[in-house]
């Protein structure tokens, strides 16, 4: 088994991320689930996915990797003891943003079958796709450059490695292989593909695969690529960790305090009209990788910019600057928000002092009715 521990994945999330919860809502229907399913359910699932993405887009499996990786049970036990699935759900992969990239495009060191333990994927690899606007080989270097200027960079502005550098995220800390999330516009706007729009594409374009990819590429980015609940969970994987929060002297367990706010409550019911982490922490029009500390004057969460952020057209357009003093990440701890802490304690006491005596009376009343004629003191 040891030979295989360096095995990496095709189109599936990192095992570590899997154990902490799925990032992508559609991801749940991939290998791990399908593996456990009976044949008929798997067929139903397949039909469902085919219905979702009616136009077959087939990436050419030039390396014939699916010869082995198409089997749902293909897995290994890694050195850390975690079970890793090496199964690649072809349907899911073909509906993902990387579907045009060949396996070897990312797993560059795999050059024969059966292969040696593969290295972890480096997202900065120049892949075999030309970026159409520049005709240059595509890579994720831009995202990396933005990330290195953000609060999440492993290096401080002077280029020195920060303390606890290993806590800072790399690409795969936040991302797995995202599925397309195309959008249809008709009488209403919803997830899916608009058949009438596809019909218009087909007037000129012959390749359904091209149409599907182009449509998805554009419309996936016209709305949130993950819903706010998923975003809060992704950020929460680090930002809810009390040890990490203490280590970096952060103000709050951000995902948890977000969940307790009205924004987070709505997010937990899959509302997408409300802001997720990215909406308030990244300036509109900028790459989400350019997230800045609230202490940075350029940040939109900086005290001077907060009011403008809250009162953006899509959010609270009529709000005054004072709305920004709303404590979005209020936590009920004595040291961080004493006023709200004592206010909460007051209500806890009020509830206890009201209900406990009344419940005691109910209990005694039931007991009294059970022994209607019992008496402890003789009547004089």
């Amino acid at each position: 088994m040891n030979r295989l521990t360096e095995e990496t994945w095709l189109g599936s999330p990192q095992p570590a991320s899997r154990s902490k919860g799925n990032l992508n809502p559609l991801e749940g229907s991939d290998g791990s689930r399908a593996a456990g399913m009976g044949g008929s359910r798997a067929v139903v699932l397949l039909l469902f996915l085919m219905a979702l993405f009616p136009i077959g887009s087939r990436a050419a499996d030039v390396g014939n990797c699916l010869m082995c990786h198409k089997y749902p049970g293909l897995s290994l036990v890694a050195e850390d003891g975690a079970l890793r699935l090496c199964y690649v759900n072809e349907e899911n992969f073909n509906s993902s943003v990387h579907s045009k990239v060949t396996c070897q495009g990312c797993h560059t060191d795999v050059d024969k079958i059966p292969h040696d333990p593969a290295k972890k994927v480096d997202c900065l690899t120049q892949c075999h796709i030309d970026e159409p606007t520049t005709a240059k080989k595509f890579s994720h270097e831009h995202a990396e450059r933005f990330l290195s200027q953000s609060v999440h960079s492993k290096y401080d502005p002077n280029g020195n490695l920060k303390e606890y550098a290993e806590d800072y995220p790399d690409c795969k800390g936040c991302h797995d292989n995202p599925l397309w999330r195309p959008m249809a516009f008709g009488t209403s706007q919803h997830a899916g593909m608009s058949e009438s729009a596809l019909g218009r594409c087909r007037v000129c374009h012959q390749s359904d695969e091209f149409i599907f990819r182009y449509y998805s590429h554009v419309t996936t980015r016209l709305h949130k690529i993950r819903n706010p609940k998923n975003i809060a969970e992704a950020c929460g994987r680090c930002h809810n960790d009390p040890a990490l929060v203490a280590r970096h002297n952060l103000r709050t367990q951000a995902g948890i305090s977000y969940n307790d706010s009205y924004h987070g409550k709505a997010a937990s019911f899959l509302d997408e009209r409300i802001p997720d982490c990215l909406d308030c922490h990244v300036r509109k029009g900028e790459s989400v990788h350019q997230m800045l500390s609230r202490k940075n004057p350029r940040s939109i969460t900086h005290a001077d910019n907060k009011a403008q952020t809250c009162s953006s057209t899509d959010c609270h357009p009529n709000a005054s600057a004072k709305l920004a003093s709303y404590d979005v990440h209020a936590g009920f701890t004595l040291d961080k928000s004493p006023g709200q802490f004592y206010f909460t304690v007051f209500f806890i006491f009020l509830t206890g002092c009201t209900l406990l005596p009344l419940m005691a009376i109910i209990f005694l009343d039931l007991l009294r009715r059970l022994f209607p004629n019992l008496i402890l003191r003789k009547r004089s």
Binding site: N259, S261, Y262, G264, K265, A266, S268, F269, L270, D271, H316, N318, A319, S320, K322, L323, A324, S325, Y326, D327, A330, S337, G339, Q340, F343, T344, F347, I348, L350, T351, T354, L355, L358, M359, I361, I362, L364, D365, L366, L367, R368, R369, F371, P372, N373, L374, I375, L376, R377, K378, R379
Partner: protein
């Protein structure tokens, strides 16, 4: 003047008048809106609970349930305002005006008048609570002899009254977050959220534990007290909860010979007690 009889005899049973039609309608509006508010509010408070999405989906999910909540909340607030007007109207018509006609209306007499309104807690209530505890702790066989409105009913009245002030105000603040931030500060919304959800939990628990025990689940009234529908209480329940008022009304209506003894004076209880003494 009164459009009702204090005692109504139906199938040989005496029924005692409790609530007017207006009061009963007010109560039903209150009950329906509060249940709706709890059902559409608690899934938000406990949004991580497994049942929350299902209950929320029943009211149309995040796109619709908040609208149901606001409609119910607005209805309840309108009812509250109506009730205040109703209260003021009745106090002025029945108490203040006669006082004025007699020329005795002063600040002190008005204050005294307000303090002696039927649902204002008084010393008798404190005595009744102590007597109830004595009864519940098996120290006596005698239940407290309640007046027309007992401390339980006063509690049931003032708890939602206070609750509506707190929950209604904080609800309006949360609903109009832009305006409230302009009037106060953004922090007010933090406090309003705490007050709204914590006070709502208290109100909900109070209703479903205490109020429902007294009017639904208690052995005396199970499966359901009907005074909130037909406005009358049975003789049995009158004797158990409002003995003092029962004697008063019976005497007033000329039934003084039919007055039954209070509960707890059962002959078998005396026998049991006698046996206890004998042993």
């Amino acid at each position: 003047m009164a459009s009702h009889y204090k005692i109504k005899i139906k199938n040989g049973e005496k029924l005692f008048y409790r609530f007017s039609v207006s009061q009963r309608i007010q109560h039903i509006i209150l009950a329906v809106t509060v249940v709706l508010l709890v059902l559409t509010g608690m899934p938000l408070r406990f949004h991580d609970a497994s049942w929350a999405p299902f209950l929320y989906a029943l009211f149309g999910g995040i796109a619709c349930a908040p609208i149901v909540h606001r409609v119910a909340g607005s209805t309840l607030l309108l009812l509250f305002v109506y009730h205040l007007a109703y209260l003021a109207y009745h106090i002025i018509r029945d108490d203040v005006r006669p006082l004025k006609q007699r020329g005795e209306l002063t600040a002190i007499s008005l204050f005294k008048l307000l303090l002696t309104q039927p649902l204002v807690p008084n010393l008798k209530d404190a005595r009744d609570i102590l007597d109830l505890l004595k009864y519940l702790l098996f120290l006596t066989h005698e239940r407290p002899q309640g007046a027309k409105w007992t401390w339980k009913e006063k509690f049931d009245y003032w708890a939602p009254f206070w609750g509506m002030l707190i929950i209604g105000t904080s609800g309006l603040i949360l609903w109009n977050e832009g305006l409230s931030a302009r009037l106060f500060t953004g922090q007010v919304i933090n406090y309003a959220l705490i007050a709204h959800s914590d006070e709502a939990l208290l109100a909900g628990l109070f209703l479903f534990i205490w109020h429902w025990y007294n009017v639904h689940f208690s052995i005396s009234v199970f499966p359901m007290g009907t005074a909130f529908i037909n406005g009358y209480l049975s003789e049995e329940l009158m004797i158990e909860e409002h003995y003092e008022y029962y004697v008063e009304v019976m005497t007033e209506c000329g039934f003084s010979r039919d007055i039954k003894p209070p509960h707890g004076y059962h002959s078998d209880a005396k026998v049991m007690q006698g046996e206890g003494e004998a042993i």
